[in-house]
Symmetry: C2
Subunit: 662 residues, 2 copies
């Protein structure tokens, strides 16, 4: 291997690829435009560090710590942990108006949604208000995004409800159910904080986007249909979430439908949808969609209060006055409930992480800023951990509410603090006003909120672009809608894992041909005018060769060689002699990969075929040298490009044919 390692690339500078053609064939050693460069030596620790960095910190979060004094590093670290230190000192009063307006706007949206989403999770409405106070306050301190508005989310609420109900019934033992909810929130926070701290947020990348679209759209439809209970005032409603059970409940006794609630729901549905449409058309009227739910609540509450018709229309009832009570003593830290809540927390954390990262990335792209999703996870984890000790359930950075926040012109995380303050005032003084709020208006608000999550556009885009992806989307959707939310989630994960397996174990390989009148080799399946060189088979491999795909690559190469030999026997003089493997994109090979390549070499040798390597990547080359593969194959069969490899093989065949003819 001395030659390859010592090869000086510079010495061959002045040979162009054109000169090579017709080069002197009496030399056994092929002349080349460029030599295969020897791999530069790299230390084990260096590589380990590099791999770890690429794995966990591809966004280079330590960039700003470079070349700083220790004191400054500590200060930067503290600012990193508590971004309020970053923006508060330089806070300009000109921001205040924007932050106040956006804070008030999201507060007016958060109050009805908080109460409504808590009902989705089968929790007391007041818990929804508690969760709209403490989490945004904490996010104002720990959150790094200026756009995200924190509070209860619809998907997370319905998921939490459906998971908790499997353990204990919310109607039979409401106190245990509530305690379980706090415990699950606690553990979800813990998982989120740990995932973020160890920079493992990237695992959400393993959930395919298409499956998530299907899952969320399915949940939205299920939740929307469940609101028919409140809208039509149905009393005996199924506990199941699938579409069949829900529709059966709805149509069981159409004569029992409550016309009062139906009329209220219908009118406010129109009102809310119109408000949404207005905001969509005129960006400046963003506050219309935000204020509409609160207006609906105020109006219907007054209506019920005035008509005294709360016997026919269900109302929220008494909401306790005062700030969040301490609930740390209610959390199960041991026992079977702790274990079950931990499992629920883990699932909920995954969904929460997924939502948060999606929201964070959306705004980062829109504003071309960088968001450190792992830091966001830590912030979210910390706030769920601590707020679960004060009667809050899971909070998240919901996309729709954050969009309202952005449209309202928020400048800093102060808008979250403003929102928390507004909710605090309500908790301290105004909760009695919600006594007569009818359930039907909450159902209507939730209905409008969730149908916005149905991503028809995304599903259509998926269908148009990638039919396999659409199958994943459809599978998750059908699972949620027709079976259960958990089944849908399982299907989404299963399909994602299946796609990963397919991707990793069956990498793409292609037969390459020469484009006429050029020296360019391209995939023959794509460039149909590319032609094969007689006697030479060129196969490109588009992935590292490793234990997950080594055997497949071997089988695939041998199958192509076999087919090529079959075809070759039809033509005279078209005997396959050389197999050129284009390894340009094969950056690395592991021990399994080397074993499989050695197998290929052994089998080709037995069949009288010569293996030729073109342009293996830096790490792959290093390992092939160390494993004595280069020695075994012969250094002269390594080329830096396919062109040169084919050129050399052709000239050898030509020379042999001439000597045969003589």
């Amino acid at each position: 291997m001395g030659d390859l390692e010592a090869a000086s690339v510079g010495s061959l500078d002045h040979q162009s690829s054109v000169e090579i053609i017709g080069s002197n064939l009496s030399h056994d050693e092929p002349r080349r435009a460029i030599e295969v460069a020897p791999p530069p030596p790299k230390a084990l620790m260096h590589r380990l560090l590099y791999n770890t960095k690429e794995m966990l910190c591809p966004d280079d979060p330590f960039h700003k710590f470079k070349n700083q004094t220790t004191r400054r590093k500590c200060y930067l670290g503290l600012k990193h942990l508590m971004p309020i230190l970053d923006w508060a000192p330089g806070y300009s009063l000109s921001y205040l108006k924007s932050d106040l307006i956006s804070g008030m706007t999201i507060a007016s949206l958060a109050i009805p949604q908080g109460i409504g989403f808590a009902r989705l999770a089968k929790l007391p409405p007041i818990v929804g208000l508690y969760s709209s106070f403490l989490p945004p306050l904490l996010y104002g301190i720990f959150g790094s995004s200026r756009d995200v508005a924190v509070g209860p989310g619809s998907i997370l609420s319905i998921l939490l409800g459906s998971l908790l109900r499997e353990v204990v019934s919310p109607t039979e033992s409401p106190e245990t159910y509530l305690q379980l909810a706090f415990t699950a929130t606690f553990f979800a926070g813990l998982f989120e904080a740990l995932l973020g701290a160890f920079r493992f947020g990237f695992i959400v990348d393993f959930l395919s986007r298409a499956a998530v679209i299907g899952f969320i759209s399915g949940v939205a439809i299920v939740v929307a249909l469940q609101q028919l209970k409140g809208i039509l005032g149905i009393t005996n409603f199924t506990e199941n979430a699938d579409i069949v059970s829900v529709m059966r409940s709805v149509w069981a006794h159409p004569n029992m439908w409550n016309w009062r609630t139906a009329v209220i729901a219908a009118s406010f549905l129109v009102f809310l949808l119109a408000a949404k449409e207005i905001s969509k058309r005129h960006k400046k009227l963003f506050w219309v969609t935000a204020i509409a739910p609160l207006l609906s609540i105020i109006f219907t509450t007054l209506l019920v209060h005035a008509t005294h018709d709360y016997e026919h229309i269900g109302i929220i009832g008494t909401l306790p006055k005062g700030l969040n009570p301490v609930s740390v003593t209610k959390i199960y830290f041991r026992g079977p409930y702790a274990l079950k809540a931990m499992k629920i927390g883990l699932i909920a954390a995954m969904i929460n992480v997924m939502e948060t990262i999606a929201v964070g990335r959306t705004f980062a792209v829109k504003k071309d800023t960088k968001i450190d999703v792992n830091q966001e996870l830590v912030a979210l984890g910390l706030l769920n951990l601590s707020s679960s000790c004060f009667s809050c359930y899971m909070a998240t950075g919901a996309l729709s509410r954050s969009a309202v926040n952005v449209n309202a012109g928020c400048k800093t995380a102060l808008s979250n603090i403003v929102m928390a303050t507004v909710v605090m005032v309500i908790l301290l003084a105004l909760t009695p006003l919600f006594h007569y709020t009818p359930n039907v208006i909450l159902s209507t608000i939730v209905f409008v909120a969730v149908i916005g999550l149905i991503d028809l556009e995304g599903a259509y885009f998926t269908w148009k672009v990638d039919k396999l992806d659409f199958l994943a989307c459809l599978g998750a959707f059908i699972g949620v809608v027709f079976i259960s939310i958990n089944t849908g989630l399982l299907i989404a994960i299963g399909i994602s894992v299946g796609k990963i397996l397919l991707q990793i174990s069956r990498p793409h390989t292609a037969i390459m041909g020469l484009i006429p009148s050029t020296n360019i080799y391209q995939d023959m399946q794509h460039y149909t005018n590319a032609t094969q060189i007689p006697g030479i088979l060129i196969i490109r491999i588009d992935s590292p060769i490793c234990f997950t795909n080594g055997n497949y690559i071997k089988e695939r190469i041998l199958r192509w060689v076999g087919e090529s030999e079959d075809n070759a026997s039809h033509y005279k003089g078209w005997i396959l002699k050389y197999l050129v493997l284009d390894l340009t994109s094969v950056m690395s090979v592991d021990t399994t990969g080397i074993h499989e390549l050695t197998d290929v070499l052994t089998i080709l040798d037995k069949r009288g075929l010569q293996l030729v390597f073109a342009g293996p990547g830096i790490d792959a080359l290093e390992k092939l040298i160390k494993a004595n593969f280069v020695e075994k194959l012969g250094q002269k069969w390594f080329f830096s490009t396919v062109f040169e490899a084919v050129d050399y093989c052709s000239s050898l065949m030509k020379a042999q044919k001439e000597s045969n003819d003589d």
Copy 2:
């Protein structure tokens, strides 16, 4: 998109890449050596079928069914299921001698190993003999390999023993333990058959070879050390398998060591190792290593019988006479034991599949024949399923015994039938002869058998070639040796999964530079003389862009663009203007990938950078067209090679500079 779709590649045949340089810049449309070919249309079903075939049948098992009549297809199918129909009708008598010799040879090896390995699994010795009779007989009918010798295996036995002991103690309730073993065997067979039938054998590829080397070597050392119990005649021996507990048991009372057994063990250890060495040096004396264990058993049994010293030396005791009793009634088909046995069966099946596939592939490469591992799995599954109903525990095609079979010159699977016949004769008439066989000789035989599994060479190769792989190897080894076999297995799986995650979520990307005096672009990290073109950054992506890596690729590209802009600001006139993405090996893009690429486009647009695509693969191009990405970016920014993309960008920059100078 009409242009690209309608582009006729042939019409551009006569433009070479040389002509392009200095082409007329007044045309906005770049002239190209070759156009980007439009992707040929493909139907959804076609692609689904193709993907499924590549996933499950990369070895094309239906090749031989092509172009056959239906009747012939049925016949071929039956032959496929029962390969005995393939070789038996054409069986030549000249094979008979070879098969008889090899059958007798493996039988003489199988008898002591059968008894010894059953003791590893804490099962009665007679079960080991039963399992050396029925499984090879069935394999003779269903097995497709001519080389594999079937029977109990050491790794599988110790694993089964260690898993079963966690459920029930073999000393306290031996009957339940035995029933559990049959049940686990039954389910393992079921899993194997199912995996094979659905052609899912490839999942063993997800266990990294390096981790398996570490795991097996660790198990071999643990098993070898446990044999010190029998060798030194220690009575109070630990049930744990880790090296610390075992060595503590050994050195607890050195004065209690039994010198008689120690002397016998030492002498036969020398004898067995010498026999092994002789066979290794002289291939013709293959029978020496095969016959040595049986000779040792005969000799020591006679010795014990003659000296009547069986009070000081433990003996096997009475073995029942007769063929395998029916045990189907002993299998738990329901209840908690069934579930536990199912879990054990699943783990054991995975290990068995791994071993079988490794053995199958080894011989396939050696003989350049094709082995259908999935068919082997079905055969192995069927024989474990049925033999578990007749008092057999798990059988496998062990590598060492198969190697003896090959060396003995076996021609067909008849050698397995011969072996089964020999064991049958022993079961019917000769079991009383084993009454006085001392335990110590069985321990010695197992000791010699397992130390052959320690793969120092493989570990050294791994260390030399791939340090990360070696870490996997070491981790599994340490897990087995110092903690437990199950922990080692978990570590091996954990490390393998970790490597898969790394591979799939962090694909390789490289900055490309031009090799001086050529038109070849190469990875600048590898070819250190390659130089960057001022104003143009070329990044190659070596993997499909999909949901597992899309975000990483985006981050990586943007990081490189940022660094490049930082560097560029140091040089005058070196302002980054073009980002060329070399997508030659990007065969496919999913919806997430397109979203991420769109994000990159949006961000680059904001920074005033032009994105240029070079040579996206066929599927990727099709999806980019469907997703309107090609339209968004502009068709003229798509090139088939990096050379042409850079050439066009350079000429644009030159033209602009000239107009600025004027």
